[in-house]
Amino acid sequence: MQKIDAEQEKMLVKTARHEPEAFRELYRLYFPRIYAYVAGRMNRREDAEDIVADVFLRVAEAFEGFEYRGAGSFTAWLFRIARNHVSQFYRRHPVSREPYLFDQLPEIYSLEPSPDETVAQQESADHLRSLITTLSPRRREIITLKFYGGLRNREIAEVLKLDERTVASHLCRALADLQRKYQSEKDTLP
């Protein structure tokens, strides 16, 4: 997961205000993270793609109006937009709140050379993602922002308007939950 530090982010954002190529760099930097986060929260790949497209087109539109306020970061701003789009989707499609179906999960386009390994990794990823859906909405969101969006706890706190310690607490509890379920299912395997 390619990440840059806060200073680099500021420089890039500043340059992108008058240089389209810098905006392209921002896109390439954040696309995988935004996609992973959105796909991690959606049931169908088509919906994830629609939302990610909406997010980036919206960002392109609103970018000029973005300004740093306080400790706020561009990353948090971006993820907040993504999160709002996901929320809007669920407001419009409440039926989509069904449990994840394995064959509907977003695909992983792995670069792994071995087909066997790819299949195994795909299955394991599917399984984990289905476990994540069993968490409470807040914890599911935090896990997704953390592991798929690659956000720091401070950034998650900013996106969700929570205290950073609350985020840390939720994260640890969510992992404990997952660990339990993950382990018990592994133990039951032949």
Binding site: E19, P32, G40, A60, I108, S124, S136
Partner: protein
């Protein structure tokens, strides 16, 4: 791993390292989690990148042109096109290209003459690169003799210089039309349409790029069409231009004079409201004329003289009795002059939906933050609450209605709302308790998996008396019923 509120610092550090450098931690769960992030198909990523960059280029272009219009008015380009998307590179851009070429030649000459090295400013470098992308083959020339307008975004063409004239057609970017003249108030251009007919378009730089000499334009009198709609827009001290969707940066009008004195809004005439918001508005459009249309036309209606900074404000479209849970059709966003905007006014309908008003609000009155049940002092906060509810209804419940519990509730927790009640069968005939029929105690987790959005604090920072919950619309009904009937509610941690 954790106790209530505590967290494992080692674990957190491990995760940060894993996400920062991708090195496996040895913990199967963490490693698998990091590996399970969904990836997009390369085709989709590339396709979207092209789409986004086309949009970005367009945005830069609009920005540049707007700046150009603001700084000079006329065609003289203050800088080169930074990056022009392929679809923008069309022959119709020739006049602009010629001027850019002229300026490029002059600046190039100056740089050479002074023997200076080009600056290392990345944007300047980009300009240099781009100058090779934009075909410059014409000799130095002057401003075109016949002014033209390059359409920047979808624009309605009317049969006369005013929004009350019928629409003829719509022009889309990047169409270019020849300008024949200008209206007496200099707010409309008479143009020649692609089919050879004539029409009028607004002069706003947001919509068109004017190329030519504006001062030389001939003033063309308006056609002798007597508009009807305009009579309904009678000047009034309480004029409230209405726009349901788009925020015009500044609304101004030739007929309206802002009043500095305090204004009472109880008598806003319905004719001042957006037609879609006023069902009983007696509008009689003339034959062939569209009713008061879109935001663009309203914006265009506002011609110059006095500029009023307008701000969005949420108003009630009907009388809303205290205690009513607001729905979207009860409210609308309108625009009021900034100087008379009430304190604590709200700007967006969406966050208000599903929230109860704590006192009567009369029709046409603004809905204020103090009118709604969740009082936090900050609208943004409320919006956040709403957004974080993800399609659920935000309900604020007084803690007086919540039974004592050892469970210390905090924002972000998921809880169940349980009720305990006794019931007895009633006789069919007289609605009396059937003799010898014992009461049955019912314990029920009536509403499950409710997210606690916030515990409202008192001014002194101590926990206050209100808890804000996100529930489904159905559960909100149940919760309201529980509150109204006085049945005690117990909060329990969700299973």
């Amino acid at each position: 791993m954790t106790q209530n509120g505590a967290h494992d610092d080692n674990l957190l550090e491990q995760i940060e390292r894993l996400l920062a450098d991708g090195k496996p931690t040895g913990d199967p769960l963490l490693d698998d989690l990091a590996r399970s992030a969904p990836e997009a198909s390369p085709e989709f990523r590339q396709q979207l990148e092209n789409q986004v960059m086309a949009k970005v280029s367009h945005q830069y272009e609009i920005k540049r042109r707007t700046e150009q219009m603001n700084t000079g008015g006329n065609v003289i380009a203050s800088q080169f096109p930074e990056r022009i998307s392929p679809q923008k590179r069309r022959p119709i851009r020739l006049p602009f290209t010629l001027v850019a070429a002229a300026l490029a030649t002059i600046i190039g000459g100056i740089v050479l003459f002074m023997g200076a090295t080009p600056p290392s400013n990345p944007s300047f470098m980009a300009l240099q690169t781009d100058s090779t992308e934009t075909p410059i083959s014409a000799p130095l020339t002057t401003i075109p003799a016949t002014p033209i307008a390059e359409i920047l975004r979808s624009l309605v063409v009317r049969s006369g210089p005013g929004v009350d004239y019928p629409e003829i057609t719509t022009l889309e970017a990047p169409e270019v039309v020849e300008i024949r003249g200008i209206s007496e108030d200099r707010q409309w251009y008479q143009v020649v349409l692609p089919d050879g007919s004539q029409g009028w378009i607004v002069t706003a730089g947001t919509y068109i790029n004017f190329i030519g000499n504006r001062d030389a334009l001939q003033v063309v009198p308006a056609p002798t069409y007597a508009p009807v709609n305009v009579t309904t827009m009678t000047p009034s001290p309480t004029y409230v231009p209405v726009n349901m969707t788009t925020t015009p940066p500044v609304m101004s009008t030739a007929t309206v004079t802002p009043t500095p004195s305090p204004v009472i809004f109880t008598d806003i005439p319905p004719t001042m409201m957006h037609p879609s918001a006023v069902t009983d508005m007696p509008t009689v459009p003339p034959p062939g004329m569209q009713p008061m249309p879109d935001s663009l036309s309203l914006w265009a209606l506002s011609t110059s003289i006095t500029s009023l900074k307008m701000q969005p404000v949420v108003i009630a479209l009907q009388d809303i009795p205290g205690g009513t849970y607001m729905t979207a059709d009860m409210l609308a966003v309108t625009y009021w002059p900034e100087n008379i905007l009430p304190d604590q006014s709200l700007t967006s309908v969406e966050p208000m939906v599903g929230i109860a008003v704590n006192e009567d609000i009369e029709r046409w009155q603004p809905v204020l933050l103090e009118n709604i049940s969740v009082q936090t002092g900050e609208l943004t906060y409320l919006t956040e609450l709403y957004l974080s509810a993800e399609g659920k209804v935000v309900v604020a419940v007084s803690l007086e209605r919540i039974n004592d519990t050892d469970y210390a509730v905090r924002a972000g927790e998921v809880v169940d709302l349980a009720v305990t009640l006794m019931y007895v069968d009633m006789g069919d005939g007289f609605q009396e308790i059937v003799p010898n029929n014992e009461a049955v105690q019912v314990n029920s987790h009536t509403i499950e998996d409710v997210e606690v959005l916030q515990m409202i604090e008192n001014a002194d920072g101590e926990p206050g008396d209100t808890i804000v919950l996100a529930v489904t619309a159905g559960d909100a009904l149940v919760l309201n019923w529980l509150i109204e009937t006085g049945i005690e509610i117990t909060l329990l941690p969700s299973e």
